[in-house]
């Protein structure tokens, strides 16, 4: 089952390695990971997405919590957290398709952030479902390149 873990971590060298080390030592693959500073410059916010069952998740959360650098750790899901991801998509625009392409981008509220003679770079923010739907729709134009930021999440309330 896909899980999202959010952590507040001391903003110090080694903290990230210590955290990812817990995953790699147990053969747990990280699906996505984002880290950045928060309003408090001494704290980083981390969002980690993994595929784990309940028992393994419980163990992992306790291991994370045990790390001296980890200030708080929680597993969240869409019901109790806001989750967003950023997508950059480079897509071919054949003559005659441009208008339709831009219209479809508009429907998703994607923005064009770069234009070249053969392609656009589109930027889209949303939850996982929206991004997946967007990718499905744009496949037909010929995707040249695709990058996802990995999810960031924040508990609601």
């Amino acid at each position: 089952m896909i899980r999202t873990i959010i952590l507040a971590v001391e903003n110090r060298p080694g903290a990230l390695a210590r955290i990812t080390g817990l995953f790699s030592a147990r053969g747990i693959n990280i699906e996505s990971l984002t880290v950045a500073r928060t309003d408090d410059p001494t704290l980083s916010h981390m969002t980690i997405v993994v595929d784990l069952d309940d028992v393994a998740l419980e163990k992992l959360l306790k291991l994370l919590d045990r790390l001296v650098d980890v200030v708080t750790v929680t597993a969240v899901d869409v019901r109790n957290a806001v989750e967003r991801e950023l997508l950059l998509l480079k897509v071919r625009h054949e003559p005659g398709q441009k208008l339709e392409l831009l219209k479809e981008a508009e429907i998703f509220r994607a923005r064009v952030v770069d234009v070249s003679p053969q392609s656009y770079v589109l930027e889209l923010t949303g939850d996982e479902e929206k991004l997946e739907a967007f990718i499905r729709v744009f496949e037909k134009y010929g995707i040249l390149e695709l990058v996802r930021s990995g999810k960031v999440a924040m508990a609601r309330g």
Partner: protein, 581 residues
């Protein structure tokens, strides 16, 4: 006051109450060694950094204080790793200092550079690279605090040479501020109440006690619990010494080479009280068959251990000693109402069953008049020392025999590499233990294979004339490996033969120590009586029956009651088939 890094180092250690450190010098840590030259802190020059870490470990376990080891960068630091990993597995409080190349050279593949914080990250409780002199005092303060509080463990501090040499204003922080570190010491009162009720209601309770009892100084509380609630106690390898072996409620050690009766009791109990343990695979055997009928209480300071290997019914996170004292008070109050003759009779029936199991199959071996049996060597050590010595061991058969046949009386008198099982631990750990407890006899029980991994430390014994006794259980084999090969690999003794070995007594002599070679049972008893408690270092090379096996034994993956009992044991069980039925 402005101070240099080296000055801050010494002053901080002084404030932490450090009296002795174990180490080995080298280029990147020379500034600190120069400062140690005329410092109050005693430095013991070990002959290999692994031994420095084991010595700090032995010191910590014998005393309950934080052990300190130090080494230079690169190879010095990598040599420490085995010792750090062993301390980590056994939750031993240690602070390790390593020199590092100057910060300007870090990342350049400089001479003797190694990413020491990277290498030791998975085997330390926490570690630090101190790049700014302003962080040094606070880091040392935190390192000692982390090492000894919560679940203890090794903490490493990596010190680039320029940090050691720079200067800053010295402030030793009063308080440690670590937002992410808040060990829970007091157990949840409601869970403790539930535990008390469960203990009184159980018909066949058993305590499974481990290293956490010793780490928390909780042996007295454990004993009180057992006696008050009439509960037998099995200890893990790490828990030996937390409950006296000769106590009527003692089940000795449980697990792979534990007593048959402890494993039987665990198998049949209806309540398992797990205290400061981690349900290690060497204890549980096949998990599904471990205490299958029992409700389970688990007391441990580390929440990670709760439900890690075995699901428990009543988890209590907290310091073992504190939890036990609250639990005991709760039990005492409740016992007044709960006690009836019927209750007492039920407990007695359970204890009688256990006594019967003890009679059917105690630890046993065939005594031999021509060749020394290794088990008997340990029994002789127990007899001569009256259980008052501190034992350290290496890893292998001799370690298990020591665990099985010594009569433990006190906590902190059994020092062994349990979780990691690092051969070569015994001698350096004994050296460390001596600096903690020079008042007690200290005996290193070594395997002939293991001893060869750290025997260079005889130089330290000689240098300080440490009155250690080193007893080599010499079976001319990597015995435990040979035993597995005999039982599980058709007797194909691949690379386990040590027939070409040195004369260990002569090696002792080469270091200026006395050494004896003992081959006949007749010599042993008298020699031990005369020399085992002597006030000088002595090595005993005891040649024992080469192909003796450690029994009973749970084969890997089997239930803990599916024990191989060995020739003697099987006979006994056959003899008493009637009484079992």
């Amino acid at each position: 006051m402005r101070m240099k890094g080296t000055e801050i180092f010494v002053e901080s250690l002084r404030r932490e109450g450090v009296r002795v450190v174990f180490g080995h010098p080298g280029g990147a840590i020379l500034p600190i060694y120069d400062r140690l030259y005329d410092a109050e802190i005693r430095h013991i020059l070990m002959r290999h950094e692994q031994a420095a870490a084991h010595a700090a470990d032995g010191y910590a376990r014998a005393s309950g204080r934080v052990g300190v080891a130090m080494a230079t960068s690169g190879p010095g630091a990598t040599n420490l790793v085995t010792g750090i990993a062993s301390a980590f597995m056994d939750s031993v409080p240690m602070v390790i200092f390593t020199g590092q190349v100057p910060s300007t050279l870090i990342g350049t593949d400089a001479f003797q550079e190694a990413d020491v914080v990277g290498i030791t990250r998975p085997c330390t409780k926490h570690n630090y690279l101190v790049l700014r002199i302003e962080d040094l005092a606070r880091t040392i303060r935190e390192a000692f605090y982390l090492a000894r509080t919560g679940r203890p463990g090794p903490v490493l501090v990596d010190l680039p040479k320029d940090t050691q040499l720079s200067e800053c204003e010295f402030v030793y922080p009063e308080e440690v501020k670590l937002r992410g570190y808040r060990p829970v010491l007091d157990g949840d009162p409601e869970a403790i109440r539930q535990a008390a009720v469960a203990i009184l209601e159980a018909k066949r309770p058993v305590i499974y006690a481990g290293g956490g009892v010793i780490a928390s100084e909780g042996a007295a509380e454990l004993r009180r619990l057992a006696e008050m609630a009439c509960v037998p106690v099995a200890t893990t390898l790490m828990g030996l010494g937390s409950f006296p072996t000769e106590h009527p409620l003692s089940l000795a050690m449980l697990g792979m080479h534990g007593s048959w009766y402890a494993n039987m009791a665990i198998n049949r109990c209806d309540l398992l009280i797990a205290i400061g343990v981690r349900f290690d695979d060497r204890v549980t055997g096949k998990i599904a068959a471990f205490a299958p009928e029992a409700r389970k209480i688990h007391i441990d300071i580390d929440p990670v251990e709760i439900n890690k290997n075995v699901r428990v019914d009543i988890p209590i996170v907290g310091d073992v000693r504190r939890v036990l004292s609250v639990l005991n008070a709760e039990l005492e109050a409740r016992l007044k109402e709960h006690w009836t003759e019927a209750w007492e009779a039920e407990r007695q029936a359970w204890l009688e069953q256990i006594t019967e199991w003890k009679r059917i199959y105690p630890f046993c071996y065939d005594f031999d008049e021509r060749v020394i049996k290794p088990q008997w060597v340990i029994e002789e050590i127990a007899r001569v020392t009256q259980g008052e010595a501190i034992l350290t061991t290496d890893v292998g058969q001799h370690q298990m025999w020591a665990a099985q046949y010594y009569r433990f009386k006190h906590p902190r008198t059994w020092i062994t590499s349990g979780g990691l099982g690092a051969m070569g631990f015994g001698l350096p750990a004994a050296i460390g233990a001596w600096f903690a407890r020079p008042d007690r006899p200290i005996i290193a029980i070594c395997g002939d294979g293991s001893f060869q991994m750290t025997m260079q430390e005889l130089a330290v014994v000689a240098e300080h004339r440490l009155p250690l006794k080193i007893v080599i259980i010499n079976n001319s084999y990597l015995g435990m490996v040979r035993q597995w090969q005999e039982i599980f690999y058709n007797g194909r003794y691949s690379a386990s033969d040590l027939r070409v070995s040195p004369d260990y007594a002569k090696i002792a002599e080469a270091y200026g120590l006395r050494g004896y070679t003992v081959r006949r049972p007749g010599e042993l008893a008298e020699l031990f009586e005369q020399e085992l408690l002597a006030s000088e270092p002595i090595l005993f090379d005891v040649h024992v029956a080469a192909e003796e096996n450690v029994y009973p034994m749970v084969p890997p993956g089997a239930a803990i009651t599916e024990m191989i009992l060995g020739p003697v044991g099987s006979k006994r069980i056959a003899d008493s088939k009637e009484s079992i039925a």
